[in-house]
């Protein structure tokens, strides 16, 4: 099994792309599509460097193809890309990019996502890269397709190219009063075109197109992995260890009836005609496990600190400028504090699931993952078969939030299917998803700082233990600063989570800034703006403050807090209003200003911001994984509280639309400012400063 226990900080940063890509997908693709136009979407050099750290100035090779566009003779426009839909509306936003450049109706675009046999290689859907990279590529692809259609029409009509344009899904020559459909121009040929050097593309129109497939979603016809059903399919279950890191000593499967038992090394699973029979079979297995003593959540932060390693120079987020010692000497006020961040679970509502089918030595797996090609590699390696014999299809997935980068369920379903000789569906239980997936890293963050009486920052030193380097550097102008990430030993398996460590680092920094502001008796917003040269962060702070009515007086037992930050090329600021009622914190209102360059789809963007803010309330106020001796002790929804309707405050968003800037992704960053805004509001309301996530008011 390709389980990678231990430290996986910002996993995608470590997962450099392989130096080679087999051209299987491309060849099979060309066989599969009929006549018409094929446009190859080459990732341009700048983008290639950004996303995959490829060498500068390399010529485009097949692995640099990011997407295909096919215009069939029936006029059908189909886009092939490796991105996955996990609720971030990528299907719609990418289709919008194509529709806008191709001057065709949105509903005429068919999107084929994340089928490794049909789409070109893609590292995965993470890091908020779909909008800046894939949408950009698709705009260029569609623009090239549009120009080729005009060329073909000019030839077809023997007309002047300049008088021809594409409009409403047709090629038209308005002067001559004639038009022709896209599909009628290729006349049985298959024309292939790569994107020219500088295709002329336009900025996103910024329209709120409705979500594609929403009619299927509201009628229950939309198929997720767990809805896939194959003829003769069995239902699988896997025997889990009694604790993390436990080893299997012995098993007795004599009591199992009505199910196939599959044993392979330390893997034990069953496959049966339905879930009930599979569940009974699993219960009938007697297994003995050997466990070792493991640390509990009570000792977590001391453990992280004790096992910390020296920071490597040049590590992610690391920075040294000036002399912190001199800066602290020059300061009138100093502050040194520690902030603790709990492990939290992604808890996607659709747990890990897979349906696996073998045809000879060829394997097809439907599974919900953010890395279809990565999971194809995991399967190939687990079964020692060539990647070409593995097809991974990712149906639209019941969310991920960074939690579905791995292919455990796919591998397990495939192993069961091979053993049972029939297709097998495996849907992890909620308890399995809590215990055997991976968590957002816990962390300890230490900040010491100094400032002059007038509110000018003089020194800033920040050390992050374990949670990660994202957004580690302060965005405020400080002449003397040190920022360092330290890896350590993580007792639980950890990995990416929406916005990575930017949530932890922004919480620590923005809480610390608030503490300084209060020590200096300065308004928290004024103090921030005084130390800020970054115009984009300034703009969102000001926009959130304006939308919120910052500066007004709070009622008794109520308080206001503000926080801001930046990650992955976008900027966010949130103002929160909280009330302390009966010793409990109630968030009443949250106003979030967000700027991600040019807005692609305003309504979907607002939906992402609102969802991020409310989801962020979970990590801010109550989510924390508890564990003892290798067991997750609150791994179910009745014990692990996630935000519900009754936790939802009045949520308002302010879009700062920078049409002059290219669009950044927006599914992650809006989550980072809510926790410190709420914590700062709690301080304003109660005078209690909370320095741990979740903010536990009652226990402080």
């Amino acid at each position: 099994m390709n389980y990678k226990p231990g430290m996986e900080p910002e996993r995608y940063e470590l997962d450099a792309p392989l130096p080679y890509r087999f051209s299987f997908a491309r060849r099979s693709f060309f066989k599969s599509v009929g006549a018409g136009i094929v446009v190859l979407g080459l990732l341009d050099k700048a983008v290639g460097q950004e996303s995959g750290r490829r060498g500068a100035g390399r010529r485009a090779t097949p692995q640099d193809i990011g997407a295909y566009l096919h215009i069939g003779e029936d006029g059908q426009v189909t886009v092939y890309t490796g991105k996955v839909e996990v609720g971030q509306n990528v299907r719609t936003s990418l289709a919008q990019a194509v529709a806008e450049e191709l001057r065709a109706p949105l509903t005429s675009i068919r999107m084929v996502l994340a089928d490794t046999q049909l789409v070109p290689y893609d590292a995965g859907t993470f890091g908020s890269r779909s909008t800046p990279d894939m949408a950009r590529t698709l705009r260029r692809v569609a623009a090239a397709g549009r120009e080729l259609l005009i060329d073909l029409a000019a030839e077809h009509w023997k007309a002047d190219r300049a008088s021809i344009k594409v409009k409403d899904g047709k090629v038209v020559d308005e002067k001559a009063g004639q038009n022709i459909e896209f599909g009628k121009l290729t006349k049985g040929q298959k024309l292939t075109k790569a994107i020219p050097e500088n295709p002329s593309t336009s900025a996103p129109a910024g329209h709120s197109a409705p979500k594609l497939d929403s009619d299927k979603i509201v009628t229950g016809r939309h198929k997720y992995t767990s809805d896939v059903k194959l003829p003769g399919m069995l239902h699988g279950k896997v025997l889990r260890p009694t604790a993390l890191k436990a080893t299997l000593v012995s098993t007795d499967t004599a009591g199992v009836e009505g199910a196939t038992v599959v044993r392979d090394g330390n893997f034990v699973g069953v496959a049966a005609a339905n879930e009930l029979l599979a569940g009974r079979a699993l219960k009938a297995i007697k297994a003995e496990w050997k466990t070792a003593d493991q640390i509990s959540h009570k000792d977590l932060y001391a453990h992280l600190k004790k096992n910390a390693r020296e920071s490597q120079s040049g590590g992610r987020g690391n920075q040294r400028t000036g002399s912190v010692k001199d800066g602290l000497t020059a300061a009138d006020v100093r502050n040194a504090q520690t902030y603790n961040i709990a492990y939290i679970a992604h808890a996607p509502l659709e747990p890990r699931a897979a349906v696996a089918q073998w045809e000879g030595d060829k394997l097809t797996v439907w599974t919900g993952t953010q890395r279809p090609f990565g999971v194809r590699g995991e399967l190939a390696s687990a079964f020692r078969i060539p990647e070409n014999d593995v097809r991974v299809i990712v149906p639209d997935t019941g969310s991920g939030y960074g939690g579905k980068h791995s292919g455990e369920a796919a591998i397990e379903a495939a192993r069961l299917a091979r053993g049972a000789g029939k297709p097998v569906k495996l849907v992890w239980t909620r308890e399995e998803e809590f215990a055997w997936a991976y968590f957002r890293p816990a962390g300890v963050i230490e900040i010491s700082s100094g400032a002059r009486k007038d509110g000018t920052l003089t020194a800033w030193e920040c050390h992050n233990y374990n949670s990660g380097g994202s957004s580690l550097r302060t965005l405020y102008a400080v002449p003397n600063q040190v920022s360092e990430f330290h890896s350590t030993d993580s007792p639980l398996r950890q990995g990416s989570y929406r916005a990575l460590a930017a949530t932890a680092n922004t919480f620590a920094r923005e809480t610390h800034m608030d503490e300084l502001a209060h020590t200096l008796k300065l308004d928290p917003l004024e103090f921030r703006l005084k130390n800020l040269n970054d115009v984009r962060l300034r703009a969102v702070l000001e926009a959130a403050a304006k939308g919120f009515g910052w500066g007004k007086k709070a009622k008794a037992n109520q308080g206001f807090g503000i926080a801001g930050g930046s990650e992955k090329g976008s900027y966010v600021a949130t103002c929160a209003e909280v009330a302390i009622e009966g010793g409990k914190v109630k968030v009443l209102r949250a106003v979030t200003a967000f700027e991600c360059g040019a807005v692609v789809n305003p309504e979907h963007l607002k939906n992402q911001i609102e969802g991020s803010v409310v989801m962020g309330l979970g990590g801010a106020l109550f989510e924390a994984i508890e564990f003892q001796n290798g067991q997750i002790t609150n791994g179910r929804f009745s014990d692990y509280r996630v935000p519900r309707f009754s936790d939802t405050p009045q949520v308002e968003t302010v879009l700062v639309d920078r049409k002059d800037l290219s669009s950044a992704g927006a599914g992650e960053t809006p989550i980072i400012a809510i926790a410190p805004a709420v914590g700062n509001a709690i301080f304003a309301a109660s005078g209690k400063r909370l320095r741990s996530l979740p903010l536990q008011f009652g226990r402080a």
Binding site: G87, T219, R221, Y224, R430, T648
Partner: protein, 180 residues
């Protein structure tokens, strides 16, 4: 050969005994789903959710937790929202089951379905059918719910994308008759 044998008077009951051991509990042969009798042949201990999804291919109700905490499996039983993951098919009897598939047709969506589209009340969509079923039950009982009544009625349904503000808007929109 298993010998069918029944010692109770329950209609349709078949306890299969082989080598002196019970292999299967009485099977259920029919459920009243979306206004029609659905023929099934299911072990009475199986969950309603599993039978709906795996035998009848009514996959709008989803598995989310198996303990009735997330509401993703919500269907209506005699008009009341229930967690189908916590009900065995043997416990249903002739109660009327309503699922999302019986709510509207592809050509003619139910007003609540339309409102969810209009208000953009979804992200990944995995919880959406259950949200709609809970909202339908609420609106039948309370056609003009207040915001507080919506929150109270829907609080057992989790949306991990936390599209709650827009789901509330969708229910309000449906109540206003704004979605046609």
């Amino acid at each position: 050969m298993p010998i069918p044998f029944c010692w109770c008077n329950f209609t349709g009951c078949r306890i299969v005994i082989k080598s002196g051991r019970i292999l299967g509990m009485p099977n259920i042969s029919s459920l009243n789903i979306n206004g029609a009798a659905a023929r099934i042949d299911a072990d009475s201990e199986r969950t309603l959710l599993s039978v709906l999804r795996d035998d009848l291919e009514l996959t709008g109700a989803k598995y989310g937790c198996g303990e009735g905490e997330c509401g993703a499996c919500t269907v209506l039983l005699d008009g009341i929202p229930v967690r189908s993951c916590r009900r065995t098919v043997g416990s249903i009897g002739d109660k009327k089951i309503e699922t999302i598939e019986g709510l509207g047709s592809n050509e003619k969506l139910h007003s609540v379905q339309k409102a969810f589209i209009e208000a953009d009340g979804m992200q990944c969509g995995y919880c959406t059918c259950a949200m709609i079923m809970s909202a339908v039950a609420l609106l039948r009982k309370t056609p003009k719910p207040s915001r507080e009544e919506i929150i109270r009625a829907m609080d057992g349904n989790i949306c991990r994308c936390c599209a709650y503000p827009r789901i509330i808007k969708a229910v309000e929109l449906a109540a206003k008759g704004g979605a046609r």
